[in-house]
């Protein structure tokens, strides 16, 4: 489904060249769920950016469903790839209503001069909002800018579902939410991933999440994958094991330590 071949990405920073990704290889089958942990600056987000096409790698190949998409622009990859980032503001259009945002998500390939929101579509939207249990079904005509961060992120997850991506990239998508909303949004995402069997990469700072979810775990440091646990190996891992591995790599990260506490 998704294959990365020795992906490298170098950024220029003043006089220096910083290697954000130093040769990443990854092969994911359909339905695989990989969780990625690592300190800040390990290259996790850069990795997702390269897959989504918002940045081009310096070297290497990105292959989606057997097709080389390394230089394909982000909007063309969007037919297979859905993405939810940490920023609740990123995934929705604030000045437009909930209904209009949902309408934008449900039509991916062909957009025409047909009316975007029909009565039938509106009824579907009410059902979709009812299933969130956030009372948003009464607020279909409210601009999204009036929603809270948690509500917006839940809407973003719903929109990602409607677009039926084959690959889902989650970039710490609950990190900016309060605990209650974070739990709700992770539940929604889990349901979605299970129901659709979508191939998923989830970047997270929360080691418990990283262990509880998915069938494979990558630990990144300085642009490289330092540990790769699959199947039973991953099942056997505990948070303490991860902390130990981190200290072996001399990774010091307050945020990580807090998350484990």
């Amino acid at each position: 489904m998704l294959k990365l071949e020795s992906i490298r990405k170098a950024f220029r920073s003043g006089q220096d060249i910083v290697l954000a990704l130093g040769g990443i290889d990854l092969d994911m089958e359909k339905g695989d769920f990989v969780t990625v942990i690592g300190s800040n600056g390990a290259g996790k987000s850069t990795l997702l950016n390269v897959i989504a096409g918002t940045i081009l790698p310096t070297a290497g190949k990105v292959v989606v469903k057997g097709r080389n998409v390394t230089t394909l622009p982000a909007y063309r990859r969007a037919q297979w790839i859905g993405r939810i980032t940490q920023d609740p503001l990123a995934g929705t259009a604030p000045m437009m209503t909930i209904a209009e945002n949902l309408a934008l998500a449900s039509k991916r390939a062909h957009r025409s001069l047909r009316l975007a929101i029909t009565r039938k579509r509106r009824n579907e939207m009410i059902d979709q909002m009812l299933s969130l249990g956030m009372n948003l079904e009464h607020r279909l005509d409210d601009p999204v800018s009036l929603l809270s961060g948690g509500e917006r992120q839940a809407l973003t997850v719903t929109m990602a579902t409607l677009a039926r991506p084959e690959i889902l990239l989650l970039d710490e998508h609950t990190a900016a939410l309060d605990p209650g909303n974070a739990t709700r949004v992770s539940q929604l995402t889990e349901e979605f991933v299970k129901r659709m069997g979508v191939t998923t990469i989830m970047v997270t700072h929360n080691m418990e999440h990283a262990l509880a979810l998915g069938n494979r775990l990558l630990m990144m440091n300085k642009g490289e994958v330092v540990y790769d646990f699959g199947g039973q190996e991953k099942e056997a891992l505990t948070v303490l094991d991860l902390v130990e591995l981190f200290s072996k790599q001399h990774i010091v990260d307050d945020e990580l330590l807090l998350e484990t506490g």
Partner: protein, 299 residues
Amino acid sequence: MASILIHAAEQGLLYGIAALGVFITYRILNFPDLTVDGSFVTGAAIASSLLVSHGFDPFLVLLIAFAAGAVAGVITGLLNTRLGITDLLAGVLSMIMLYSINLRIMGRPNISLLRVDTIIRVVERGFHPLGGMSVLVFVGLVTLAVMLILVLFFKTEIGLVLRATGDNERMVIAQGVNTKRMKVGGLALSNGLVALSGALVAQYSGFADVGMGIGTIVTGLAAVIIGGSLIRSRKVLWMTTSVLIGSLIYRTAVMFALRYGYVIGFQASDLKLVTSIIVIIALVVPAFRERMSRRVKAC
């Protein structure tokens, strides 16, 4: 007095179409587009020269003017999205290029339409039972039709994407849309409307002049901002209505300023200065008000 108001209303509606064009770029696409100062004249120039030299139908020239304006918008869009020139500069470059092109189209700096059958004359003949109101009724119908088509368009799938492009471009890209193409399309639509307005204004006032487009962006913004301060809504129907109301108010104010402004020493040539100052104030006041309210909250 009544005739002043009728003239102001007629002009408010005709220039209102250009204001709708400015509304599309400024409010919807979030792209401050200066092309309009040139494309307004392009519409007037094409309409006038086709009417005078080639005897075209006065309604047909409106469509041709729209198409020409749309091409101008496409050029600005390509300069910005394909060549990476910033939005303001892309608009300025198009505007300046259009100045030369408009002179080429006209062949001289101005064209009189006194001796040709303009759309206004056709309407005066056709609607003559309405007497002095015939032109107002006609331009009212035309402008309303343009507005309603626009409102409908913004409810279609493509229209929705266009609005979202100005609102959150990254999100629209993630929905699989080529936002560059959307911007180019939006600029084409906007400048098409502005050129249509120019073609109508030329026929209405009986001439086309190469300098008639100067300040189109500012008067358009004035209409958008005046209207927006009166009707605060996020619904496209209300936003477009507010633009037309803003344009009507602006033209009425201009008419009175020109008529009675001499009392306070106002000259016609001061108009653009005063308009720009009004736009500056209108742009600054909301930001200022917000800062004040934040300061009050902080206390």
